[in-house]
């Protein structure tokens, strides 16, 4: 199998599992327990993991809260800030190409009477700082813009948006689920108030994530109960998961530049070769300002799910934003958001790399892809007559 769906999830590293193992067995204790063994070991591990992860994003350990994943972090950031700051206003600004964890949370809040502005993006999926600025009103409490898009990989001008929000006195949240461990994150330099991350996107375990909340940000609890997470998020801590997340993130951010250079070179090779080899194909997202591991294409005249199935049968794992894979009749909101017509958006394919992807895998993927696209085109009524044109 050639796995090119690392934006969906990544394979956990063995070193991460090794780091986690003791916390299932000898150190299985509850971090809230007062006895020394095994509760103490769990408590120590929790503190260490929090320090490690906070350190990776330029935060302090008091500002990092563990969650069940990226979606919970997004939900908490948005609902928590809006609920706690009702006196300040009722307006949220976000974009049209956010992850559903942000969009559906905003839609939920709209039903509760909050006002949401969905700022459009340009043809590359980039948000303009001035569009955000123009959308800010006296009622605005929160701006939420994703660090990098999960489908098309475009990286937003996060530091500039953060700076603007700071000047205007509104909170700035960023969904950095795809960016964490892949690009440099520094919540200080980038003026970020709240940031969501998820461990399984950087070779950590599933079911664990975190929300960074800058000191002083007013936020309501999402999960009420015990005093865990400094009284802000109840539930017995997922110690093994948290330890795994810390191990995975510290490995991901070590030698980040070197790793990024290697993955970026493979990414650009894949993009260049596909565009040169397969006619009637476009690259989605920004050509340079994109995640090192993301490629996204639209192949005209064919539909994404049949492309996916054909590749899958030959052992190549990728994803698509076509309607048939999104479970609705519309193709992905991201592809529509960058202005693609439906018929083009239906033919999308995302191949996302990891540090373990090899050039051999990319070559064999391209070798499989070319005849599959041709076979589907030959079968497509939309392709009739195109060849002869």
């Amino acid at each position: 199998m050639v796995y090119l769906d690392n934006a969906a999830t990544t394979k956990m590293k063995e070193s991460v599992l090794s780091a986690m193992m003791p916390y299932f067995f000898e150190n299985f204790g509850n971090a809230s327990s007062t006895y020394t063994t095994p509760g103490q070991a769990a408590r120590t591990a929790l503190t260490e993991a929090r320090k490690t992860i906070a350190g990776c994003i330029g935060a302090t350990e008091r500002e990092l809260y563990f969650t069940s994943g990226g979606s919970e972090a997004d939900n908490w950031a948005i609902k928590g800030v809006m609920l706690k700051n009702q006196k300040k206003g009722n307006h949220i600004i976000t974009t049209t190409i956010e992850h559903h964890a942000v969009l559906h949370t905003c839609e939920f809040l709209e039903k509760q009477g909050y006002k949401v502005t969905y700022v459009p993006v340009d043809e590359y999926g980039m948000v303009s700082v001035s569009d955000i600025e123009n959308a800010i009103t006296d009622e605005t409490v929160l701006v939420s813009v994703m660090f990098a898009n999960n489908e098309i990989g475009t990286i937003n001008p996060i530091a500039e948006i953060g700076k603007l929000c700071r000047q205007k006195g509104v909170y700035f949240h960023t969904d950095a689920v795809q960016a964490t461990g892949a690009v440099e994150i520094d919540v200080e330099k980038q003026n970020i108030d709240l940031l969501s991350m998820s461990a399984h996107k950087f070779h950590g375990p599933k079911g664990v994530g975190a929300l960074y909340v800058r000191k002083g940000v007013q936020i309501e609890n999402l999960i009420h109960g015990g005093a865990q997470e400094n009284g802000k998020r109840a539930t017995t801590e997922n110690i093994a998961g948290i330890v795994g997340m810390a191990e995975a993130l510290s490995e991901a951010t070590a030698n980040l530049e070197e790793k990024t250079a290697k993955i970026t070179a493979l990414r650009d090779y894949l993009i260049k070769t596909v565009l040169e080899t397969v006619p009637y194909t476009r690259l989605n997202g920004h050509p340079e300002k994109r995640l090192p591991n993301n490629t996204s294409f639209c192949f005209k005249y064919i539909e994404g799910e049949s492309l996916l199935l054909s590749l899958d049968m030959q052992g190549y794992v990728v994803s698509s934003g076509s309607a048939c894979t999104s479970g609705s009749l519309d193709p992905s909101h991201v592809l529509l958001g960058i202005g693609l017509p439906h018929e083009i958006a239906h033919g999308s394919l995302r191949a996302s790399l990891s540090e373990f992807t090899t050039k051999e895998e990319i070559d064999s993927f391209i070798k499989a892809l070319v005849p599959i696209v041709q076979r589907l085109r030959n079968m497509s009524p939309l392709y009739e007559g195109v060849e002869s044109k």
């Binding site: 799910e305 049949s306 199935l309 048939c324 009749l329 439906h342 079968m379 497509s380 009524p381 939309l382």
Partner: protein, 142 residues
């Protein structure tokens, strides 16, 4: 998520292509919704002598087109008109619920081709269209 039959008809579709001297051609669906089926037929003496299809769409759309052509080839026009989407689904050992509209599209594509045959041959008949294909709010682009 697909049955073996669906995967078989998707990876080795029967009757793909065009018929140059087709006397019945029907197109349903639209690109906006992500599926278009085009059926070509050669009808002689009221019998469907040959049938071919071209489909833009998902795995289920390709498989239902393929199966529908198999089910009508050699049949009389009236027999072909009795083909239901249910029969196509059963012949494929089922489809996921979200993909049932593809089978409706296959049924409608056969009907659209036969309507074309009637129209071209001055037969004043209207094929009964259930309108189920309204999932895309339009039958075809033509």
């Amino acid at each position: 998520m697909y049955s073996e039959k669906v995967m078989d008809h998707f990876s080795n579709p029967r009757n793909v292509g065009e018929i140059e001297d087709a006397n019945a051609v029907g197109t349903v669906g639209n690109a906006k919704c992500g599926d278009i089926m085009k059926i070509y037929m050669k009808i002689e003496d009221d019998i469907i002598k040959d049938v071919k299809f071209k489909t833009f769409g998902c795995g289920a759309a390709v498989a239902t087109s393929s199966m529908a052509t198999e089910l009508v080839i050699g049949k009389t026009v009236d027999e072909a008109l009795k083909l239901t989407n249910k029969a196509v689904v059963e012949a494929l050992d089922g489809l996921p619920p979200a993909k049932l509209h593809c089978s409706v599209l296959a049924e409608e594509a056969i009907k659209a081709a036969i309507q074309d045959y009637y129209d071209k041959n001055g037969i004043e008949k209207k094929v009964d269209c259930s309108g189920n294909c309204a999932h895309c709010h339009s039958h075809s682009e033509h």
